[in-house]
Structures are given as structure tokens and as C-alpha cells.
Amino acid sequence: MEMKNLKKLSLLFLLLLGLQGCGAAVGNATTSSQRVDAVLAPDVAVNYALVQQNSGTIRIYSSLPLTGSSKEQSLTLTNAMQMALEDVAGPDKTINGFKIDFVSLDDATAQRGQWDETTEKANATQAANDPDAMVFLGPYNSGAAQVAIPILNRAGLPIISPSNTYPGLTLAVDGITKTGEPDNFYPTKTRNYFRVVARDDWQGPAIVLFAREEFKVKRLYLVSEPDLFVYGKGLTDSVEREASKYGISIVGRSTVQERAADYRNLARKIRDAKPDMVFFGGTAQNQPGRLLADVRAAGVTVPFMGGDGFNNPAFLKSAGVAGEVATYSSISGVPENLLPTKGQDFLKRYRARFGTPTNYTLHGYEVMSVALNAIKNAGKKDRKAILNAIAATKNFEGVLGRWSFDANGDTDLTDFAIYQIKDGLFAYQRQSKPSK
């Protein structure tokens, strides 16, 4: 009898413990650990990093510019993410008993026509405060990542970006990144940010390598988007740094004004500097198309090149016929025929379902695949476990090839493909793989 009572008491005790666990799981109780985290997270009301569940919904957020001229490209990324979700999680979108819910957020505003700091902050906060959110995919722009990372870092939510190339997000690079980067983005000192695209301290050398080998460039004119856009300045710095290593003379460097009515004065300045190549560091949203038109109209016929920021339909449209003369762009990755079978197959299926992909569509598919793979490997609804599983991604057989994340959260793929505008489209030219 006593034994029976003891068993009953033990069962009751275990039941109470279990109930307490369940309460914690749905976020109604706050553990001492969570309180500590909450102190570290002034922008986030409740920290769910330690929340664990074995069933229910796992939410994956994406935050990309879906308003403005980036929309066309961003839609191809969300389509690709959706396809990866269907491919990995099956038609019922379930992994390890968890229903995977994909929420696509827009981080651009109509007013700015591109990503917006307040909107990005709101998106990151929404994901951080959502107990079901386990992975954040994006943002598209490096500047937006600088806003999102600290918020999500405090919440312990992993981020995987398909397209951020600014080195300072993961690594300090002399002459490119600012003092305190990247540590100032990670208040908890635990890294939660990953990217499947090669950094600009690789892209700059890839561009210079192409310029040297293809055009024997000796004189380079650099133009970058306004300094408030971190991407353009960083990439231009990277190109300048690499060019100086090879004795390429920088015959001028200018920063364009946002939404200028024209760039004819700058075009004349460029022409008078007699460069062998003009490089633009920036995105399509900061009018490289208009600059290119004015440069060509001034009679400058030397190659005009940019990075991945204008390797998209928005630039193709804004360049118009002026883009048809020696206009080049680099982007992380390899052309379709050099992709693994999985990548080539994905692009075929994408075309059949959605039409023409862009050069970042594959990266959209890849980030979702990595996230789902990590959720599968973690086996539980736990941000920390999923974060660790993402960090442990090694020799991943993805649509981009076989690759791994390094200790900083960067991919070990450093290939760049160079494209040239032909008949209104980006036509593949060659690879440019710098050695460090």
C-alpha cells in the first residue's frame, strides 16, 4: 500500500514536472536563463531561444525587398524557397513531425523603393518574438543585415542570407570593414549568421582578375553608390585594394548622388580621366543604368562593370540600349552548365513552373534547403539546436555544389561568374576565381 502510494506520489510529481515543462514550452513561464537573456535583449520582449518542442509548427521567415525594382528578383528567390520546402519537406511540408510554415516578409517600402531600416527592424522583431520562428532567411541587402543581425542575435534565431556580400558581417577585413565589425553585430557573442554567397573581399579580387586578364586594365575609374549603402562602398574598397596590389592606377573615384536627374558632369569627368575600365559598386536601385547611359553618351566605350548588386532584371531594364556595349557584372557561383545535376535539375523545374530565374534564384533554394536540413538534423524545435545544426553544415550537396560553412558562417565557395549584357539579358562570359 505504502509502495502503491509512493508510486502514485512519484507519478503525480512527474506529472507536475511534465506540466511545468509544457508550460515552459508554450512560453508561459520564464526560466532564470530566459530572464538573463531578456536582459541582453532590450528590443525583444521575450526570448524563446530555450523553448523546445517535439511537435507543432516550425516557422521560417524570409525578409526580402518585395516592393520596388528588386521585386522581380526577390520573387524568384521566394519561389525557389517554396520549391525547396516542397522538395525537402514533401507535399505535407512536415519534418520530424513539425509542420513547416514559410512566411515571406517584405523589407522594402514604397517610399524608399528599396529596403528600409524601420521595416527590416520590424521584420526581425516579428520573427524574434514569434515562438515558432526557428530560422530567418535573408535579408537580401547587406545594410539590411546589419539591422537584422543584432535583433535576431539577442533572440538566438539563426539567419541564413542568400545574397549579403559585405565582409564586415562575418569578418574584419583591413581597408574594407569598419572598426568593431563584425563583433558589434553579435551582442550575445554567439554567431547566428550564415551566408551561402561569397564575400566582397573575394568578389573584388575576382573583378580585378577579370579586368586584368580580359582587358589588361591599367587605369580604373571607381564609382560607388552613396556611403549610407554599406554594400557599394565595401565592394568598391575591395576592388580598389586589389587593384593597387597589381599596380592598376585608380584614375578617379566618385560617389553618385541618390536619385540624381543625370550624371553628365560625372560622365565627362570619367572620360577626361581616360580609364581602361569603369567600375560601379552598388545596387540597381541607385541608378547605375542612368550613369551608364550618360557615360556612353559622353563617348566612353571602355568596359563598364559592376558586382552582384546589379546582376538582376532591374539593372537590365534601367540600362536600356546603353547596356549593350561592354557591360559586365560578377556574381557568386558558376554558370548553369557547371552546376551539379541537382542545380541544373532545379533550374529546369523552376523554368517550367515560374519562368525565367535570376542569378540569385539558386541561392534562394539553397538557404531554404540548408535551413530544412538543419531542422531535420536538430530533431527538435529548438533555436539553439537548429543554430548548431546549421553551423555544422559541412560538405553540403546543394544546388550550388558541394560546400561547407566555415567558423565565421561563410561559405567556402569562392567562384565568381562573369556575365555580359547581350540582347537585354545577362550572358555568361567566364569564371573568375581569385586565389588568396
Binding site: T67, G68, K71, T109, A110, Q111, R112, G113, L228, R259, A261, D262, R264, A267, R268, G289, R290, A293, D294, R296, A297, A298, G299, T301, L316, K317, S318, A319, G320, V321, A322, E324, V325, G424
Partner: protein, 497 residues
């Protein structure tokens, strides 16, 4: 003790010889000075002619570039207008109010009115495009892509846009509204911007050539102006020195012919300096005038685009289950964003945090005084136009635009909530009433300002060319004549002694 040279043996002969030598020397100096003066006059005239040739080159380039800038401006507006009118066509088919025919026309009549406009716009666009591109063959071959490739590119895109718009109208006629709207929006999204950008490129070529020619001509005009100023000072000083020398050294107060020559040249040099100064100012201003017409034209295109964006935003509504009718459901915000971008590019206020704000209550008039205009602290084309308006220009037309722009923005601020709340008919009636009225005033004020600029260009160009031509031709008569008069004066004077 004084010595009389005549008493010195051989002294008279020696004195005579010395006087003879002096006379020979004086004659040689006079001849040398005369030759120098003649050479200086010839050099002066040669420089004037050479630099005038550069100014003539500017006029030649301007005669190509200016009509071509006008043509590309027209083509851009016609393109924007054609896209907008296809949107209006879809609205008309549905019996909605349109900005083309705000009155209560029957759908079929309304559509026919719009179609006629579209046909006119197409024909005018083709003509404007040909004019803009054909002119490229007059320039050197350093422009890439060349005219034929560029024309092929733009024609193919325009063809695609045409096909999409024509398909949209045909589908509308058949009653297949959803497919019609899709064809219209896709065709516009894919092809409008590449054509717009290519027209911008084309115009930029003409503007660049005009600016380069202006730069070269202004340099020449400056040189001419300095030469004329130097000639004025030189002749004035010569006049003064000659008379002083004659008065004090030779005790001869006045040499009529010499002084007449100097006075003529002095007056002419002052006249030439004035003509060249005006020419230089006109040169700078005619190019500025044409850059202003480009800004005015862009502004017209932006308001046309903004009006088209309203239509596209309304008709982009995806049909929801259980909902029928035009513009119901979820609309594509890209058109709203496009509209806002156009308005920011037109006239907006930059806030302290750097964002652009289009608030009708905060937009101020362009000041009347030129000094205050330079401090007009707004963003966009209209603000730039206000700041760059010459002192002699009135800001009336710009202020008429700003007033109408405020009215249009107020209309837009009422239009959007009506559309969002599903009151599409009310929204479109508002647009075709207050909106169309404000739009007409905006377009009218910009056209008036553009016409003023074009007239001003023609006037300045004509005045500058006529004045310069007359003054430089006169130089070939005045300077040799003055030189001849001076020589005659000196000879007469020499004979008197």
C-alpha cells in the same frame, strides 16, 4: 663755350649726315611700327574669325542636337501617354470615368476617342524616334552602340510593347478582362523601362554634344571677349599717349586722321566687346535653356506616368473569390510605389532623416526673386528648375504647376482610400474630375514654360548669331580702314614737317 657746328670744318656735313640717319631711323621705326600694327590687326582678325568658326560649329551642332532633344522629349511623353491611354481604354470599356473623356460618354465612343489618340501617339512616336536617331549620323563615330543598332534595339522593344498593348485592347474588346489586364501590365512592366532608358540615352547623347560644343564655343567667346577688351584698352591708351606725345614733344596738338582712326577703332572695340560678352552669355544660356526643356519634359513624363500608375494600380487588383468587377481585390503595390517615386522626382521635401516627403501642405511656391530661388530647398525636377531659372524669367508658370500639383496630390490623397475601400467608381470619377483638371493645369504650365524656353533659345540664338556675324564682318572693314587712316595721318603729318 658754345660751339656752332656750322663753324666747325666738316660740321655741317656731319650734322646733315646725322639728321639723315635720324630721319632714316625714324622712318624705319615708323614702318616697323606700321607693319607691327598691321600684323597685329591681321592676327586679331584671324583669331576672331577662327573662334567665330568654333561658335558657328556650336550653332551647327545645336541645329542638330536641339531638334533631336525636342524629338526624344516628345517620344518619351508619347510613349508614356500611349501606355496610360491603354489603361484608360480598359477603364472606358468597363464604363468607368476616364481622364481622357471625363464626361459621360458611352463606352464604345469613349474607347474610340482613346483609340484615335493612341493611333496619333504611335505615328508621332515613330516620327520622333526616327528624327532622334537619324541625327546621330551627324556626329563622330565614337558613340556606341551606333545609331542602327540602337534603333533596332528600341524598335524591337517598342514592337513588343505595342503588341502587348494591342493584345490588351483586343482582349478587352472580347470581354476577357483578366487576360487583357495581365497582358497590359506584363507588357508595360517588361518593355516600358528599357525604351524609356534608351530614349534617355539618346537624349543624353544630344545633350552631351550640345554641352561639349557649348564648352568649346564659350572658351572661344571668352578669348574673343578678352581680345576685344585688350584691343579697346590698347587703342584707348595709344590715343592718349599719341596725343600727349604730340602735344609735349612735337608741339603738335592734333593729328586729325590718326586720331580719327584711333577713335573709330576704340568705339568699334568697345562695341565688339559688348557683342562678344552678349554672345558668350547667350551661349551659356541657350544650353541651360535646353537642359531646362529636358527637365520640363521629364516632369511632364512623370505626371503622365503617375496618372498611368493610378490606372494600373486600380486594375491590378487580383480577383478574390466571390468578388467581381474591375479593381477589386488585392492590388499590386508596385504601381503605388512607382507613383510615389514619380512624385518624389517631381517635387518633394527631404526630411531631416533623409527621406523624401510629398506633402501638399508643405510644398512652397518658387520665389519671385532670383536670389531667393537659389535657396529653394526642395527636391526634384521642379525644384531644380526653380533654382536654375534665370533672373529675367518669371516663376509664374512653375507656381501654376506647383498649385495644380498640390491640387492633384490632394486628389490622390482622397483617391487612394476610395480605391482601398472598394469605391472604385467614386475614385475614378474623382480622378476624371478634379484629377484631370489638375493634370491639365500641370501639363499646361509645363508646356508654357517649355515653349518659353524654346522661344528664348531661338531668340538668343538668332540675336547672338546675327550680332556676332555683323560684328566680326565689320571687324574686317574697321581695322584695315583705321590702319589706313592712321598711316595717311602719319604721312600727312610727316610732310608738314
Amino acid at each position: 663755350m658754345a660751339v656752332n657746328v656750322s663753324q666747325v670744318p666738316g660740321g655741317a656735313a656731319s650734322l646733315h649726315l646725322a639728321q639723315k640717319r635720324n630721319r632714316t631711323l625714324r622712318r624705319q621705326i615708323l614702318w616697323f611700327m606700321g607693319a607691327c600694327a598691321a600684323l597685329a590687326v591681321v592676327a586679331f582678325l584671324a583669331v576672331i574669325s577662327a573662334t567665330t568658326a568654333r561658335i558657328s560649329t556650336f550653332n551647327e551642332i545645336a541645329s542638330i542636337a536641339v531638334p533631336s532633344i525636342n524629338a526624344t522629349n516628345d517620344a518619351t511623353q508619347l510613349l508614356a501617354g500611349e501606355v496610360e491611354n491603354t489603361g484608360e481604354y480598359i477603364l472606358a470599356d468597363q464604363g468607368k470615368a476616364t481622364s481622357v473623356a471625363p464626361g459621360a460618354l458611352a463606352p464604345a465612343t469613349n474607347k474610340q476617342v482613346i483609340l484615335t489618340k493612341i493611333e496619333e501617339q504611335r505615328a508621332a512616336f515613330d516620327l520622333a524616334l526616327q528624327r532622334g536617331y537619324n541625327a546621330l549620323s551627324n556626329y563622330s563615330n565614337d558613340i556606341k552602340p551606333d545609331a542602327s543598332k540602337a534603333l533596332l534595339y528600341i524598335s524591337s522593344r517598342y514592337g513588343r510593347l505595342q503588341d502587348a498593348l494591342a493584345q490588351a485592347r483586343a482582349l478587352t474588346d472580347k470581354g476577357d478582362l483578366t487576360t487583357a489586364i495581365q497582358a497590359f501590365l506584363n507588357g508595360q512592366n517588361d518593355n516600358y523601362e528599357p525604351i524609356f532608358a534608351s530614349l534617355y540615352f539618346l537624349r543624353s547623347i544630344h545633350q552631351s554634344r550640345l554641352e561639349e560644343a557649348e564648352s568649346s564655343a564659350v572658351y572661344s567667346a571668352e578669348l574673343q571677349q578678352y581680345l576685344a577688351a585688350a584691343a579697346t584698352v590698347l587703342f584707348g591708351a595709344t590715343l592718349l599717349v599719341t596725343n600727349l606725345w604730340l602735344t609735349f614733344r612735337v608741339k603738335r596738338v592734333f593729328v586729325p586722321l590718326l586720331n580719327l582712326a584711333l577713335v573709330i577703332v576704340l568705339i568699334y572695340s568697345a562695341f565688339l566687346w559688348s557683342v562678344l560678352s552678349n554672345s558668350r552669355r547667350d551661349l551659356t544660356q541657350v544650353v541651360a535653356t535646353y537642359n531646362r526643356t529636358a527637365l520640363l519634359s521629364d516632369s511632364l513624363t512623370y505626371i503622365t506616368d503617375a496618372s498611368a500608375d493610378q490606372v494600373q494600380w486600380v486594375i491590378s487588383g487580383k480577383q478574390l473569390v466571390g468578388q467581381t468587377g474591375l479593381g477589386t481585390g488585392v492590388r499590386d503595390e508596385i504601381y503605388n510605389q512607382d507613383l510615389k517615386t514619380r512624385l518624389e522626382l517631381l517635387l518633394s521635401l527631404r526630411t531631416k532623416d533623409g527621406t523624401l516627403l510629398v506633402d501638399p501642405a508643405q510644398l512652397q511656391d518658387c520665389p519671385a526673386s532670383a536670389t531667393s530661388r537659389t535657396n529653394y530647398n526642395f527636391e526634384g525636377n521642379i525644384a531644380q528648375l526653380c533654382r536654375e531659372l534665370p533672373a529675367s524669367y518669371s516663376s509664374n508658370n512653375l507656381n501654376q504647376f506647383i498649385k495644380a500639383y498640390r491640387d492633384w496630390l490632394n486628389m490622390q490623397n482622397r483617391f487612394s482610400p476610395l480605391v482601398i475601400s472598394g469605391k472604385i467608381d467614386d475614385a475614378l470619377t474623382l480622378r476624371s474630375g478634379d484629377g484631370a483638371k489638375a493634370y491639365a493645369f500641370m501639363a499646361d504650365s509645363l508646356n508654357k514654360e517649355r515653349d518659353l524656353n524654346i522661344q528664348d533659345y531661338r531668340k538668343r540664338s538668332q540675336q547672338g548669331t546675327d550680332g556676332l556675324s555683323f560684328a566680326t564682318q565689320l571687324a574686317w572693314i574697321i581695322y584695315p580702314a583705321a590702319l589706313a587712316l592712321a598711316a595717311a595721318g602719319l604721312l600727312v603729318w610727316r610732310r608738314e614737317f
